[in-house]
């Protein structure tokens, strides 16, 4: 291993995860903390700790110059950004490169290219990866009807210049196009000064699927299977699993191949995730975006492949020969589900509830993994996101995995602050979740109303 000492530029459970992976490879870890995290588990596990600045992220974890300065002055030859914070800022990767610090992630130019949504779409299209089928500008209801016939109903009309839902409508037949087109166009004109509309195929029953991959920077890319992250609230993932059990095998192979094709074309280096919308009814998938970092939900892919992805990141970054396995060495077996544990009150509009954990008692046993930075007496600070850990369960198939998840959640005891454990327990025992019958809007549309009702009863 050519990397000797790494600066961990993150906090919470992922900082702990990175330190452990580093130590396993004989790399020393320097933990950069804010004043609020001086006594954190990561600070205790690290070989050295440096205090960057005060608690607010902008003056500590989000300041790329501070973080790189800390790496240089503590003699680090590498920097791991984790997820969130600076992990997808090309500026950080660039600053590291300028100072001969190995950034554990892709090159700055790749982060830039994939971070720009339009450029990323163009790259995907160029690589032959399917996008949501759509049209150019549409001038009249007649043109719209013609386009809809080609795309197949339902379709969604959107404003060329806009976002935020203005000028947007869903049409299920010719009549609804005639009824809504003119109003949507004038709405767009009013809001954005441009009444031009375009059309996309509307995916009613969408799953969020994503392919975990890693590249060696020379054009070889290997995938570690896909994850299904369709249980979401306001685009925040709550439950993630691997594999996407309801996807037909042929489509799954196509999905993996698309992700590998896209990333190999870029000569992508290190770990990355290609996100797709899975249109269950039409049996198709469409590119959304690429995440150029290790993701929160990476453990489910580790559980079904047996690979340690954070160690793999270090080995690729360190230029180790054989860091990237051959594709035929990555065997997908078993089923894994992850739940994000948050210090928030699901019964009270998901209000964050920081505070002191008086009792922390995670479940244990076969197929149970808990990634967390929490301990008895730990104070969850109010400055950062509310995630306090991840429960990951693994079993030989999805039904047994769901059953094990429900039991493990029951065994989890956290006292002193409010957590989303009641909500997670409710999800794990819900008929739709057990039968794998849900989509990306299911949590908001179906589960939460039922959960709220169950609390009142």
């Amino acid at each position: 291993m050519s990397i000797k000492r790494v600066l961990v530029a993150n906090r919470g459970e992922i900082a702990v995860r990175i330190i452990r992976a580093a130590h396993a490879l004989g790399i020393e870890a320097v933990q950069a903390v804010s004043a609020a995290d001086r006594d954190s588990l990561a600070a205790r596990l690290a070989d050295q700790v440096v205090v960057l600045g005060p608690a607010p992220s902008k003056q500590s974890y989000l300041d790329a110059r501070l973080v790189v300065h800390a790496a240089r002055s503590t003699g680090c030859d590498a920097l791991h950004p984790g997820y969130g914070f600076l992990s997808e800022r090309a500026a950080l990767a660039r600053l590291c490169a300028e100072h001969d610090i190995t950034f554990v992630g892709p090159e700055a130019d790749i982060i830039d290219a994939l971070g720009d949504k339009l450029r990323a779409r163009a790259i995907a299209e160029d690589a032959g990866v399917p996008l949501v089928p759509g049209t150019d500008q549409i001038a009249s209801p007649a043109e719209a009807r013609k386009a809809a016939a080609k795309l197949g109903y339902p379709v969604v009309m959107k404003a060329s210049a806009g976002g935020g839902g203005r000028g947007m409508f869903v049409a299920r037949d010719d009549a609804s196009i005639d009824a809504s087109f003119d109003r949507a166009s004038s709405e767009a004109l009013e809001a954005f000064g441009d009444g031009t509309l375009y059309m996309e195929r509307y995916v009613e029953n969408a799953r969020h699927v994503e392919v975990q991959a890693a590249g060696d920077g020379a054009g070889r890319v290997v995938h570690f299977g896909e994850r299904d992250c369709s249980v979401q609230r306001r685009y925040q993932k709550v439950v993630e699993e691997a594999p996407c059990a309801l996807m037909p095998e042929a489509l799954r192979s196509e999905l993996h191949a698309s992700a590998v094709k896209l990333l190999s074309k870029l000569k992508y280096k290190n770990a990355g995730t290609v996100e797709f919308l899975y249109d269950v009814e039409r049996g198709a998938f469409y590119f959304i975006e690429v995440n150029t970092r290790i993701q929160v939900e990476h453990p489910v892919s580790e559980q079904v492949t047996g690979f340690d992805l954070v160690q793999t990141q270090f080995r690729i970054a360190g230029g180790e020969a054989g860091a990237l396995p051959r594709q035929d060495q990555v065997r997908l077996a078993r089923h894994a589900i992850e739940c994000r544990l948050n210090a928030e009150d699901a019964a009270n509009n998901f209000l964050p509830s920081p505070g002191r954990i008086t009792h922390w008692s995670p479940p244990a046993g076969a197929g149970i993994r808990v990634d967390s930075h929490c301990t008895d007496g730990y104070l969850v600070p109010p400055y950062y996101d509310s995630m306090i850990g991840k429960l990951v369960v693994t079993a030989h198939d999805r039904p047994s995995c769901v059953a094990r998840l429900a039991d493990a959640l029951d065994d989890f005891a956290i006292e002193g602050l409010t957590t989303n454990l009641p909500l997670l327990r409710y999800i794990a025992r819900h008929e739709d979740f057990i039968t794998n019958n849900f989509h990306t809007r299911w949590l908001e549309q179906t589960l939460l109303p039922a959960f709220e009702q169950s609390i009142k009863e």
Partner: protein
């Protein structure tokens, strides 16, 4: 006197030196001082230890770097804690960075021990990636101790300079 500062002790030693006294023995709640012109003298009912107290107050600074090389598995974050004597004001680092005592290499330092400063006097520079931020005294007084050396990495809130405010 609730707690004596190094300055208080310096003043006492100076007073004693200027006087024609042979010995002085002072005892308060938190402090006992025995001063004598006779090197063999001892305070009543006590051994040699107190004699050391008569010496000029030693700089506390060398203790900090020694503690900074914290062993594995112990949080190093408390390593830079410096005891601030009562009545003194610590000027602390606004963020992590490299501390410079002079505006440029070779130039005289911003401040030295014993120097008078006012609130706007710059006492050092903190550099982060070639971005230099001056740190001001923040108080009118006299520099009593300089705790960070030139070119040293300092962490957020680490003590850089100790100032005795004007009365």
């Amino acid at each position: 006197m609730s707690q004596a500062t190094p300055a208080d002790i310096e003043n006492l030693v100076e007073l004693f030196n200027r006087s024609d006294w042979e010995e002085m023995h002072l005892k308060t709640d938190g402090l006992e001082i025995f001063l004598s012109n006779d090197p063999a003298a001892r305070p009543p009912g006590q051994a040699a230890a107190a004699a050391a107290a008569a010496a000029p107050a030693p700089e506390a600074a060398p203790a900090a770097p020694a503690a900074a090389s914290a062993p594995h598995m112990t949080p190093a974050v408390t390593a830079h804690d410096v005891v601030i004597p009562a009545g003194m004001v610590a000027v602390r680092a606004p963020n992590l960075g490299t501390c410079y005592r002079a505006p440029k290499p070779g130039a005289p330092p911003y401040v030295e021990v014993g120097q008078k400063v006012d609130a706007d006097t710059e006492v050092c520079l903190i550099e982060v990636m070639k971005l230099f931020t001056p740190v001001k005294a923040g108080v009118n007084g006299t520099v009593r101790e300089i705790c960070a050396s030139d070119g040293q990495m300092v962490e957020y809130e680490q003590v850089l300079v100790i100032i005795e405010p004007d009365a």
